[in-house]
Symmetry: C2
Subunit: 348 residues, 2 copies
């Protein structure tokens, strides 16, 4: 089978591998239909973080090609979302809704989704069934379904971690694919005002389409002043940190009102939290967030919202590539000519 | 009028002052019935923190003696809780439920509650009406009503900041009056298992009476191991930090399961949060808390729970003093012969 291989900084290839095989009875082999490139993949593509050469990718949709004998909820031919999380679905942590922290998912491999076949573990808990077959859906719908493997639930996780609810004013930091999905999420959860931080016209336009009511192109101190002027000097009810930089998280802390909530889905490494934690206390601000609960949010709300057409997160894919064009798919995101790159792995 | 005066480290006196007077039309003068000494008062009593000599105390119940012309919801003779917070009740921050952060409460004075009369500001928003008159209540009930001015809502705030709900396993750090009230709160909110950290027999016994199902007298690493052994190795759903020390907050971070919540009502000053914030992210742990919403929690749930006898937070007052015995009242808490000292200011 063909699968994408990370060779070294700035260099991706498609290589031939033995076809993925069942190992455990709870495994499934997935024939990938669509996959995509994640913003987090750019860390090692750009050489900023270390990654060993090997198969990559952690977001896909596909058809179940084989199932182990222990799989109860899925059968060959089922159309599924293949999340980057691998929760077993039955431990106390999964039952509490935090599959990304499942203690039974140590064997889960984030890599190999950008390829023709992938071996999924914990099938019953980790995968999400999509009604019908790929051919029942338009290209746009398939893109939105692909977004449910990571980017959309991650944006939604930020919103849930910040307890966004009906009538809220929400500030979203980050106009990348995750930030844009956080805008969709705030809207879906009933926010009445959504302030998106963006200085790129195409992304700001998409944010507006997704429900942003205000766009702020300033950063730092000036951005905070602008947020305050939009909220009568009190600050927003919630801030969603979808960038993962020092400036973004520090601005998020300052952007919310007393009693407000900050949800984070990034981990900046150069912040001195000692400067902030007391002020969060004195302002009664809550800090939450972490790695997204993909299957949970998909099953609870997101899949239905995509199927009904209420949300269209696939619009974050502004460029589309075949498996053989993988180098271009990464470069388009690296050079910011695409917000997010979709990969057409097999025809439907 | 007589009022308690902080002279210097370890020295309290009762002194004569001009009677408290209305200043603004939204003020009320309260004839104090019961007041008490707060654990936080020990910081300056012991000379650990600075405080200027002057009137002190920030928890009381009493009768309204006079009201300003702008007060709508209270009249002379009303029996009230006098919270340490002074929220106006109508700004967006109060309406969001965070009266301790009310921007219209800058004139509020935390001092003077330990005395015969006190001038309250923002009467309509800040005070809480108690049905009937003081003479309608037993001494025990008056003690429980006094606890509603600070200590009980503060324990409850920790529990709400940690989103404690039905069926939860909750660990409470701190067996002082606030920690004991946090145990009451966890029980009131439906926690099924409440693990109280205590190494004092009298306090552990009270914690059990209040609903604690397990007592742990270890600290640090050993305490965490004990908590893990009680929770099948996963950790608790929520931890309530009611001590305000480095060890307590760090233990709270380690005591909760992935996706758990930490509520804090103390602010330790020697913690390096940079060592913890990433691990909170990777474990999807939420951190909340701050200064309590006294009137909110009293009106929403606590007053009714005291009136119905469902909770008896007044039991944290293990010693009772007259105003003239004020030095003894502080010393009893300083020397830990009392958990919390009640002051009988006027007979009912």
């Amino acid at each position: 089978m063909k699968s994408v291989y990370f060779v070294e900084k700035n260099k991706m290839q498609v290589r031939e591998f033995p076809k993925a095989q069942l190992v455990k009875e709870t495994d499934a082999i997935i024939k990938i239909v669509r996959a995509c490139v994640c913003g987090s993949d750019l860390w090692w593509f750009r050489g900023i973080s270390e990654r060993q050469p090997g198969p990559v990718g952690h977001e896909a949709i596909g058809l179940i090609e084989e199932v182990g004998t222990g799989v109860k909820n899925f059968k060959v031919g089922d159309f599924v979302i293949v999340p980057f999380t691998h929760g077993c679905g039955h431990c106390p942590i999964c039952l509490a809704g935090f599959e990304a922290n499942c203690p039974n998912a140590k064997d889960g491999v984030n890599g190999g989704y950008q390829g023709e076949f992938y071996r999924a573990i914990n099938t019953d808990g980790a995968l999400v069934k999509i009604p019908g077959q790929p051919s029942d859906y338009s290209d746009d719908q398939l893109a939105s379904l692909t977004a449910l493997a990571d980017v959309m639930p991650t944006g939604f996780h930020a919103a849930k971690a910040a307890d966004v609810h009906e009538g809220d004013t929400v500030v979203v930091f980050g106009d990348g694919a995750v930030g844009l999905c956080a805008v969709i999420s705030a809207k879906l959860l009933g926010a009445k005002r959504i302030i998106a931080m963006s200085r790129h016209e195409d992304r700001a336009a998409l944010a507006r389409d997704f429900g942003a009511t205000d766009i702020i192109d300033e950063r730092g101190e000036e951005a905070i002043q602008k947020i305050m002027s939009l909220t009568n000097g009190y600050g927003a009810d919630a801030a969603l940190e979808c960038v993962g930089t020092k400036q973004a998280i520090e601005s998020a802390f300052q952007a919310v009102r007393a009693g407000g909530r900050v949800g984070r889905v990034g981990v900046p490494h150069d912040v001195d939290y000692n400067e902030w934690i007391d002020s969060l206390f004195w302002k009664n601000i809550q800090l939450g967030g972490g790695v997204a609960s993909v299957a949970r949010w998909d099953k609870e709300i997101l899949l239905e919202a995509v199927l009904s057409g209420e949300i269209n997160p696939g619009r974050v894919f502004t460029a589309e590539f075949s498996l053989d064009e993988i180098q271009k798919a990464y470069e388009a995101m690296d050079q910011r000519t695409a917000i997010k790159s979709l990969l057409r792995i097999s025809e439907v």
